[in-house]
Symmetry: C2
Subunit: 107 residues, 2 copies
DNA sequence: AAACTATTTGGTTATTTTGCCAACTAAGCA
DNA sequence: TGCTTAGTTGGCAAAATAACCAAATAGTTT
């Protein structure tokens, strides 16, 4: 594998890593509905604001969400809705896994 | 966020985490073309076999690939082709990021 | 059965990720 | 100007990941 190819896979992995956390998946789902300020997300998630803020930084830094400060609040929105399609595929994997698990028990 | 919802996001994150590594993304791309034995992947990747084997375990365990032993070799194939659609979306994010980066420099 | 090949697993170490608290910054309000 | 609110950042400890070598396992060949 040459250097350029390697770089490309690293860049992709960086973005996918940004999605790979339960809290960040939740945030994405919420932002898919409408923009939210940090405080709303903090209330829904129930973690320290600093923790939520760091999750948002990971997503922003990956280019998945964008933010806008209005007054005291910072509002976040989803920048890349095509991610949502992918979640359907993830659900398919989960369903297939569940089926396989059930079949294994029956056997 | 209730317990059940939390579990669901954890299950999703588990699958996405399995994808979130450059080597594993490479493996998925290769398996999208055709099935491969561990030794072929080892040669392409150039890491220790044990390392490659562990990456494959992560993917199998997540339900993304499946394996079949034939003789001495173990052959892996992609179980969930819809993942590939997602990579298109990841590329879009990368392109958008590059554009934004370029615009920021111009400014 | 012994030697050989392909792969997995155990164990170790280095690195990265996560979450919290405390301290700081920025904006609005008294 | 000083107080309050919203959010970010520094620092730290705990947990999760990743890579390698060595040893074990499973199937082939002689």
């Amino acid at each position: 594998m040459n250097e350029k190819t390697k770089k490309r896979y690293e860049a992709r992995a960086h973005i996918i890593k940004a999605l790979a956390h339960p809290t960040r998946l939740f945030i994405i789902d919420e932002l898919a509905k409408r923009e939210r300020c940090v405080c709303e997300l903090r209330d829904m998630i129930g973690a320290d604001v600093s923790t939520v803020s760091r999750h948002l930084t990971v997503l922003r830094e990956a280019g998945v969400v964008e933010d806008e400060k209005r007054g005291l609040q910072v509002w976040y929105r989803l920048k890349v809705p095509c991610i949502l399609n992918f979640f359907g595929c993830v659900e398919d994997v989960l369903k297939a896994n569940a089926r396989q698990m059930a079949a294994a028990i029956r056997r």
